[in-house]
Every structure is written in structure tokens, then in C-alpha cells.
């Protein structure tokens, strides 16, 4: 009884303090409102649709009217012959991209930071951002042209290997094409956040290091990197949470049946099942499976990071 009353009191207190805070900072709450609404509408409301993955879904009957089938779709996916292939391809493409692509914007940011000539720095920055602003369809069109058997890169490699077909028809070339083009697309844009972090490093630290006789590399290792390590770890955690989200658009635009072996991933599989076969329920189930793995990975990395460096998302 006592406990309940104290709980009630506490609750009342919390409400009261919240009210006071609201009165004081009302405009700030107003400011955050659009964001809350955005996330609610676009990230929370669609979660209702997850129910589809337990149904034999028909768009006409809707979620309310479609027949429930329990875990049938999940059993079908795990038992399907394509499961292993799409699952391991997803991991392979994802981790390769992560390992190769993640450090590049940091390197670029460090290099830009050391650059003295402002004009050259601006030019380099602008050029490296550029691919980010080109539509993905155009990017993929360019990639296809470059690696075609008579393309800029394709013809050179054809000369060297003697294999005269488009690089996109050779299964072992897909991963390098995908990863290298991703770096090209993202390196400039992703370096912005690190540049911002670098701008926040106290110049006094550098002056002190100079007095102690530290060279450039020393300063980078002992001052710059530790100063932005929090940013790096945060970015890494966020990135790991998306490991299973290999962008299906890019793969769909690049792949073909000859290289399904190395290029078919969970998200392209979901796309094919949903939009080409109109098998909505199954498609949703595979997507949900994908998200579940993402969540596990995110929690896992966050815990490790918390233990090791004290940096974490929550």
C-alpha cells in the first residue's frame, strides 16, 4: 500500500516536472514535434504491416481480412534452396563494403585536414562529393558502360585476362565492382561528418605537441585520431546496424541471372518475391527476418563497444 502510494506520488511528480518543463521550453517541444510526427508516420505506423508476414496476404482483403498462416513463410524461406546463397551473399557483400569502405572517408578527412592550400582543398572536396548527388540509376548506367566488354575498364581487364565478356557477367568480379563503386559514391559525402569532428579539435593541443617536437604523423596518431574516436565508434555502430541492408536498388540495377551466385542478396530476393511474384506475405516475412538480424547485430556491437570504449548509443 505504502509502495503504491509512493509510486503514485512519484508519477505525479514526474508529470508535474514535465509540465513545468513544457511551460518553460514550449517552443523547443514545438520544434521537435515535426520530427516525432515524421518518425511516427514513416517508421512506426508501417510496423503494422509486419503482420503481413504471418498471413497469406491479399491486398484486397487487407491485413484485417487475409488468412493467418502462422510461421509458414518463415519456414519456407529457411527451408528454401536459395536461403543459404542469399544469406551468405548478404553477409559477404555487407562486410566487404564495411571493411573496405568504412575507413576511406576517415582517411580522406585526415588528408583534407592536413591540406594547406584552401583552393585545392575545396576542389578536391567538391569533386569527391559529386557522385553522391548523381542518381543511382545514372551511376549504375555508368558502371555498366565502364565494365562492358568494350568499356573503359572492361576492355583493359579483358586484354589482361583474355575473358572477353562484360565484367558483370563474371561472378567473381561482382564484389569488387560493387565495393569499389560504393567507395567512389560515398567517400566524399561521408567524410563531411569527420571533417566537422576535426574542426572541433582544440588547436592548443597541436601547438603543445609542436613544442614537444611532434611531427605530422605523430600529431595525427596522438591527437587527431583520439579526438574523433567517439565519432568513429558511433558511426561504426550505426553502420553495423545496417549490415543486412545491402541496398537492393544498386544490385538490382547491376545484376543478371549469370551472376546470381555472388550477387543475389536478401533484399533483392524480397524485391523479386514481392514485386515480381506479388507474393506479399512471403516477401514481408523475409524482410522481417532481415530486420531481426539487423537488430541483433546492433545490440551486439553496442554492448561490445560499451564494454571496450565506453561509447554507446544507449
Amino acid at each position: 500500500m505504502e509502495l503504491l502510494a509512493s509510486k503514485k506520488r512519484q508519477k505525479g511528480k514526474a508529470l508535474q516536472s514535465w509540465r513545468r518543463d513544457f511551460r518553460k521550453n514550449g517552443s523547443l517541444y514545438l520544434l521537435v514535434l515535426p520530427v516525432v510526427i515524421f518518425y511516427f508516420i514513416f517508421n512506426y505506423m508501417p510496423m503494422y504491416g509486419v503482420l503481413m508476414s504471418f498471413q497469406d496476404f491479399s491486398p484486397r482483403l487487407g491485413i484485417g481480412g487475409s488468412e493467418w498462416v502462422g510461421l509458414q513463410h518463415f519456414r519456407r524461406f529457411l527451408g528454401s534452396t536459395d536461403f543459404q546463397r542469399v544469406f551468405f551473399n548478404t553477409l559477404k557483400i555487407s562486410f566487404s563494403t564495411l571493411i573496405c569502405e568504412f575507413p576511406t572517408p576517415i582517411l580522406l578527412a585526415l588528408m583534407l585536414n592536413e591540406m594547406q592550400n584552401r583552393h585545392i582543398k575545396k576542389v578536391v572536396q567538391t569533386l569527391s562529393y559529386l557522385p553522391h548527388f548523381i542518381s543511382l540509376v545514372v551511376i549504375c548506367g555508368m558502371i555498366k558502360t565502364f565494365v562492358a566488354n568494350d568499356g573503359l575498364i572492361g576492355s583493359v581487364i579483358a586484354q589482361m585476362t583474355g575473358n572477353n565478356s562484360s565484367l558483370l557477367m563474371q561472378a567473381n568480379k561482382f564484389l569488387p565492382i560493387y565495393v569499389l563503386s560504393s567507395i567512389w559514391q560515398a567517400v566524399g559525402w561521408e567524410s563531411i561528418i569527420y571533417l566537422a569532428a576535426l574542426a572541433g579539435v582544440d588547436p592548443q593541443l597541436y601547438e603543445a605537441a609542436e613544442i614537444d617536437g611532434a611531427g605530422r604523423i605523430r600529431k595525427i596518431i596522438n591527437i587527431t585520431l583520439p579526438s574523433i574516436s567517439t565519432t568513429i565508434v558511433t558511426m561504426l555502430i550505426l553502420r553495423l546496424g545496417k549490415v543486412m541492408n545491402v541496398g537492393y536498388e544498386k544490385i538490382i540495377l547491376l545484376y543478371n541471372e549469370v551472376i546470381y551466385d555472388t550477387s543475389d542478396v536478401i533484399s533483392t530476393y524480397v524485391y523479386r518475391m514481392g514485386f515480381e511474384n506479388q507474393d506479399w506475405g512471403y516477401s514481408a516475412a523475409v524482410g522481417l527476418f532481415n530486420s531481426a538480424i539487423n537488430l541483433v547485430l546492433l545490440v551486439f556491437t553496442n554492448t561490445i563497444s560499451k564494454k571496450m570504449s565506453g561509447t554507446s548509443l544507449w
Binding site: S58, P59, R60, Q72
Partner: protein, 514 residues
Amino acid sequence: MKMKKRWYVGSLAAIMAAAMLSGCGGGEQASTGEGEKLTCWMPLTSNAAMLVSNYGETALAQELIKRTGVDIEFVHPPQGQESEKFSIIVASANLPDIIEYNWLNYPGGPAKAIKEGVIIDIASQQNLAPNVFKYLNEHPEIKKLATTDANELFAFPFVRGDESLCFSGGTIIRGDWLEELGLSMPETIDEWENVLTQFKEKKGAQVPYSSTSTGNFAYAFNTTTDYYVEDGKVKHGVLDPGFKDYLVTMNRWYQKGLIDPSFATLDQKTIEANIINGQSGATTGSIGSGIGKWMAAAPSDTYSLEGAPFLSSEKGQKPKFGTYQLPVTASLTAFDAISTSCKNVEAAMKFLDYGYSEEGYMLYNFGIEGESYEMIDGYPTYTEIITNNPEGQSMTVALANYTRSYATGPFVQDKRYMEQYAALPQQKRAWETWSNTDAAAHFPPHLYMQEDELTEYAQLNSDVGTYLTEMISKFIIGAEPLDNFDTMIQELKNRGIERVLEMKQAAYDRYLTK
């Protein structure tokens, strides 16, 4: 300076807001029953899209509205997003009155669309659509193709009024090169190999045969790359004895550089550029958008494309397979269904039924008499507005303004359209050559699975289909050694190809006894 900047930021914000709004709007709202105006949701053909942004602006639609007295507003999904938008439309509570779509693709088939209350069974109200039922009753084979297993008529179908209209595509070859090299039209696989080799060596064609598909060459081995029917049995070509020989040959051609090494990544633009510029000497295509289009873009006067005959296992024999379309063709714009939300079924029926009346037949096929065609000796002849448009429109675009015979729609297509559309002698010859096949007897009709089989069928069919296309391409490029052919057959069986055939067979039997 500061003012300028502020103005810039302001206008940027305005532009972004406008972009977002227009992105959301998209002009796809179906109007909510005011008066008698009906709405019709339909994909706009790319030919019509070159001329108008709405089907209602075409001379044909305006004439149809005038003659039937039924006022209709047309709404179109963006090109390339038809099936996604269709799902959204179907899920909405307020359906458009008429929905033109490939209803065969409705998950579970058209019968399920009727059962789930999306569209109505037109056969239940025969009196409102006398013309279409008159036509179907006179043509029982067409009726069989256009109805579900339970004899429901789910839509006003597009019908090819003559068997010859079912053949409009095939293998295309450079006729002038054959002549120059003193070669005859290839009719066997060995002759083809010789012709392609000579094209490569003597005409400098880097990719003698450039097409995404080599399926036409399988016919020479008495097989095909797809399902077919023979003597009342449903079969798949891959299980035929000749299929391995087909793959062996294609693999050899690939290694010799006779077929385009990039066939799996080819897009239509590259294929067209290849055949026009002489990079290739043979490809696949159709009478109009193949031979007609490419000859018009030809770099020289001597350039000539011919339709090559389909292959058969023995020279001179009538080919068993070919490029064929059912008289009731599956196409995005081929089936006009009436939705369960239709405000005025009678008016909608009247509008759609008109295409099967005598006047409607002429209107859909030839347009307006005195404008787009004239009767010369009892033959509806297109006028210069169509054949030599004063505003410089190509024939297909001009046809799109007055007719729907160039594509599909709720009417019966007339052979005399094709006779005039295939204006070049090469086109006429190709049409005749490609019609010479027994493909019609081996092409399966639209098959409908039963409700309890749907999930299993969808799963197995896609598992088998994806694997097969993948393996065929891999065998051809040599990524998979041909010794593994039997392993592939075993894997196909593991994936359930036999069960798929069994289900298709049952559906085919239902069709035959309907």
C-alpha cells in the same frame, strides 16, 4: 548581399516544398462519384504517351465518349510502376469504376479477383453487354481463353481477330549481307553457324548474333526453353532429349564469339545500335518495332533486314515452335474489368461493349472515317494522317491518336491493320515467314491453379524458373561445365519441376474439359 542570400534560401525552400508536394500528389486520385462521370484506371501505352498525357485527349477516346454518351475520366499510373500502383489501387476502398490491367497477373488469378470482391463477373449480366457475348458465343475457342475455369468473364478481353495476328516476332537477319556473301537464308542450325561465322569474318560483325535470348535456336533440337503442350500433355523443354545438344551448341557459339558475350546484360538500346551499325548481323525482334524501326534508322540504302524462318529438327519440316501470342493476349492493357465499386455498371458495360459492335470495331481498328481512314473498294485504307503525318508523327504515334489496333484494348483486332502497318516488303515477307509454324498447337493457354495449390505453385514455379534461367546462361558462357547437365536436371526435380508440371497438367485438363 545578405538580401540576396535570404532570397536564395527562401526560393530553395519553396522549390523543395513544391517538389515534395508534387511527388506526393501525382494526380492519381480517383474521383468520388459526382454525377455520371466514370473513372477508368489504365496504363498509358508508350506510343500514346509520346502524344498525350491522358488517354482522354486522344481523338479515339473523345469519339468513343461522344458515340456512347458515357463520360469517362481516365487516370494513368506512371510508366514502369504499373504493378505497384495496381496493388495500391486494389487495396483502396474506393476502386475506380473500370480497371484496365493484365488481370491474369492478379495474385491467385482473375477468379480470385472476383471472389475477393475486386471486380464483377461480367457473364452474370450478359444482357448489358450484348456485343461481346455475341462475339464470344460465335467463337467458342476465344471464349474458352477469355473466361475462368468457372466460366466467369472477368474482363472485356482484347482479341486478335485473325490467327496471323498472333505471329509478329522472330529472328531477324541482315538480308543484304546474305546476298553479298552469296548465302541462302539459314534453315538449319549448321547453316546458321556458317552464316554467323561468315558475318564475323567477312563483314566484321563483332557480335554476329546479339540478343538477350538464344531460345529460338533450341527449336532446331526439337525443344524450347519454356513450358509447352503436346498431345494433351504439358511438358517443359529442358526435360526433352535435345536440350543438352542445344546448350552444347550455344556454348560452342559463345566460345567462337558468334553470340554476344554480354547477352545477359544487354539492353534494348545496345541491341538496336548493334544491328543498325553492323556490329551484329542477326537478332530477335518484331515486324514493327524491329524490322520497321531499324530499317528506318538504317545508315545506307542497301541495308535490309529479313525475318528468318523458325528452325525445326529437319530441314523443310514445319517448325514445331515459334514466337506466338495467344489470340486473347496477356498484356498490361488487354483486359478491362468493372470494379465492384462501379457507380453505374450499365454505363460502364455500354462503353466497353462498344468495341465489339460493328461500328466500334471499325473505330478501334481504323479510327474515324474520313479522317484517319477511307473506304476504298470496301477496304478501310489509312489516310495520310496516319501513314504520312503532316505533323511528322511516326505511324505508331499517329495510330495511337485514332486507334488502339497498334497495341491492345477492349475490341477485336483486324488483320487489315497489320497489312497496312507492315508496309515494307521485308515486313510482309517476315510476317509470312513467321506465321509458318505449328507454335499455336504447342502454346499453353492461360492456366489457373486451384485455390489450395496457389502458395505451393507460386513457390515451386519461381524456384524452378529462377534456377533454370540462371543455369541456361551459365552453361552457355561455360561458367558451369556441360558435364553437370544431369546434376541440373536432378536439382530441377529436387526443386519440384515435376510437381509444377503436374499442377499445370491438372489446370490444362480443366481447361480442355471446360
